[in-house]
Every structure is written in structure tokens, then in C-alpha cells.
């Protein structure tokens, strides 16, 4: 897309969005309040979703906005309620090791980006191999307008079946580890039973308080 002439507007959008990502990441690393961190990680996902749209990866941006900003923020909020509200400050000497690891990984990633093809490069490996074949034959094979859908559903139906199974197994695994969550419902019903029949209050209604 940005092959023929350098697009100043697109470059500015990229710089602004990536700069925002950088600022949010630094803020997350420096904050101690878990609530603020959860909210900022949602903002991080939203900004990266906007950036995916800017580099023409609309489907990825869509998924990032739904999963990263919507779903994982809500789940992290639920997890945050189970712990304390602030993170313990780490000694500054012990922060040195993780900092070195981060800097080394970052340098390696920047070194790797030198070899990456430009955005939308028609000669990149992703566009010359099987991707081009999909673009050519998908319409004849399936008659579906959006080429992403037949790639995910038809050509790579096994992958998508595997992904759906992984999501299902993840849900079942979390539920098996943490319980299905019916405790809060049971507790509310118990509280309502306790508060409603004031007149014929029985003494055994009180021993439902024990919680594991």
C-alpha cells in the first residue's frame, strides 16, 4: 500500500499510535494500583487495535479490540477482586535483571525488523506463496466475498476447529480450577432467604455462613 510513494499521513498515524503504546506501556510498568493497570492494559489493547487497522489488518484489529480491550479487561477485573488492590514495590536492584532481559529482547527484535518486507509488499513471502493462490482461487472454490472467511473456514477448517477446541478446553480448565462460579449465586440466594422471612426465623438459617 505504501509502496509507490511514502504516505506522510499514514506515517504520522503510525508514529502517534506507537508512541501512545510506548507511553501506556511505561505507565503500566510504573504504576502500583492494579485497577489502573487493568484499565491501562485495556487502553493498550484498544490503541494496538487502532494500529492494526492502520496497517490494513482489519480482522486482527477487530479481534484485538474484542478480546484484548473487552474480554481480558473484564476477566482481569474479576481476577483483581480476588487479590489485594496494589502491587508490592520491588527493590530497585532486583529490577535490573528484568530490565536487561527486556532491553536485550528489544534490540534483537529491532535487529530482526531490518529484514522484514514493507507493508503490502507484493513480493513478500506471505504474498507470493499460498496467499496469492488463495486470492486467485477462493472466489471460484467457495463464492464468498471476504477471502478471510474461506481461508479460515474452508482451506484451514482443521486449524479453526483446533482453535475452537482450545478455547473450549481453556474455559473448562479455568472452571475446573476455580469452580464454576455458582458460589456467589448460592450466597445471594442464601442472603435473600435470610432477610425475607423475618417472622418465622429459624436458628439453622445461620449456620450457612461457613465458606471454604
Amino acid at each position: 500500500m505504501a509502496m509507490s510513494e511514502p504516505d506522510i499521513g499514514l506515517a504520522l498515524v503510525n508514529i502517534v499510535l506507537l508512541g501512545l503504546l510506548f507511553v501506556v506501556a511505561i505507565a503500566i510498568a510504573r504504576l502500583r494500583s492494579l485497577f489502573a493497570i487493568v484499565m491501562l492494559s485495556g487502553i493498550y489493547s484498544l490503541v494496538s487495535a487502532a494500529w492494526y487497522v492502520a496497517v490494513d489488518a482489519v480482522d486482527v484489529g477487530f479481534t484485538e479490540a474484542a478480546v484484548g480491550a473487552g474480554m481480558s479487561t473484564a476477566v482481569l477485573l474479576g481476577a483483581m477482586l480476588l487479590t489485594s488492590r496494589t502491587a508490592k514495590p520491588e527493590k530497585s536492584l532486583r529490577q535490573l535483571g528484568p530490565l536487561l532481559v527486556c532491553v536485550a529482547t528489544g534490540i534483537m527484535l529491532i535487529y530482526a525488523t531490518v529484514d522484514l518486507p514493507a507493508v503490502g509488499d507484493p513480493n513478500s513471502p506471505a504474498n507470493t506463496g499460498v496467499g496469492l493462490t488463495y486470492l486467485r482461487v477462493a472466489w471460484y472454490d467457495t463464492g464468498i466475498e471476504n477471502v478471510v472467511t474461506p481461508v479460515l473456514g474452508s482451506y484451514r477448517g482443521f486449524d479453526t476447529l483446533g482453535e475452537t477446541t482450545v478455547v473450549f478446553v481453556a474455559g473448562i480448565a479455568v472452571a475446573l480450577l476455580l469452580g464454576f462460579g455458582e458460589r456467589s449465586l448460592a450466597e445471594t440466594i442464601r442472603n435473600e432467604d435470610k432477610s425475607l422471612p423475618k417472622a418465622n426465623k429459624k436458628p439453622e438459617a445461620e449456620d450457612g455462613e461457613t465458606d471454604s
Binding site: D59, G70, G143, I144, S154, G171, I172, L178, E182, I189
Partner: protein, 150 residues
């Protein structure tokens, strides 16, 4: 949550949730033509119910959409997806070969459309059920979100 200073939040949420659900269904059934599909639609539908749970309390959301229902829906979704594969097998094709669903020649698109709609429905059920199960597992451990937690 008993006091009434969340009234703006509740009113806005009540008007937003139908729009979110409608958008989720649009993403689901418009996936053939634009960005979107079962995965995104499943997450959006799950988020609509999670928003309800965050504002009105997890127990009332559990009364509307019980945890037993969400995990059943997740299982039904995976079974539906895998079942389309077996349907193709029974018609004499290969696993998940939509072309074989109605025994079409190459170039026939009816089986592709039906197969993809069915597996996208399976993804929708699987993802939304699993996401809600995960949310209930986390959020169901605390009885009620108190005001000072926000």
C-alpha cells in the same frame, strides 16, 4: 449496589446491551462479506452479558444466563463444528469437505455456504460459552462487587 448513585450507569447500560448484541449478530452473519466471524461475534456477545454482570451484579447475570447453560453452549459449539466434519464424512467426502455436504461438482457453492455458516455458528457458541464460563469462574468467587472496589 443497593444505593442509587449508579443510576446513570444502569440506564446507559440497559440501552447499550441490545445494541451490542445486535452488533455481535451483525458481525456473525456479515462475516462472509466483511471483517468478522464467529470468534469476534462470540466475544462480543459474551462481553454484552459480562457488561450486564459488571453493572447489575454477577448473581442477576447468572439468573439470566446460568453457568450450566454457558458451559453446555460451549460444548454444543465444538460438537456442531466437529459434526459438520462428520456430516461430510457420511456423505462420502473427506473430513470438513463442504463440497461433499450435498454431493456437488467442483464450482458448486451451496455446500460451502451452508458448511461455513454452520461452523461459524459452532465457533460462536464455543467461544461465547467458553468466555462466559471463564468470566463466571473468576467473578463468581466474590459475592458482590462493593463500591469501594471501583
Amino acid at each position: 449496589m443497593k444505593s442509587d448513585h449508579h443510576v446513570i450507569l444502569r440506564v446507559i447500560t440497559k440501552t447499550l446491551i441490545p445494541v451490542i448484541v445486535l452488533f455481535g449478530l451483525y458481525v456473525q452473519f456479515h462475516g462472509d462479506f466483511g471483517p468478522g466471524g464467529g470468534f469476534q461475534a462470540g466475544v462480543i456477545l459474551a462481553v454484552a452479558i459480562i457488561l450486564y454482570a459488571l453493572v447489575f451484579g454477577v448473581p442477576s447475570a447468572m439468573r439470566a444466563v446460568p453457568p450450566a447453560f454457558t458451559r453446555s453452549v460451549a460444548a454444543v459449539g465444538v460438537l456442531l463444528y466437529a459434526g459438520v466434519g462428520f456430516w461430510a464424512l457420511l456423505q462420502g467426502g473427506q473430513y470438513l469437505e463442504y463440497q461433499a455436504l450435498f454431493g456437488e461438482e467442483p464450482g458448486g457453492h451451496h455446500g460451502q455456504h451452508v458448511g461455513i455458516i454452520l461452523i461459524e455458528l459452532g465457533v460462536l457458541f464455543g467461544v461465547s460459552g467458553a468466555m462466559l464460563t471463564i468470566f463466571y469462574a473468576f467473578a463468581g468467587r466474590v459475592a458482590e462487587i462493593r463500591d469501594e472496589d471501583w
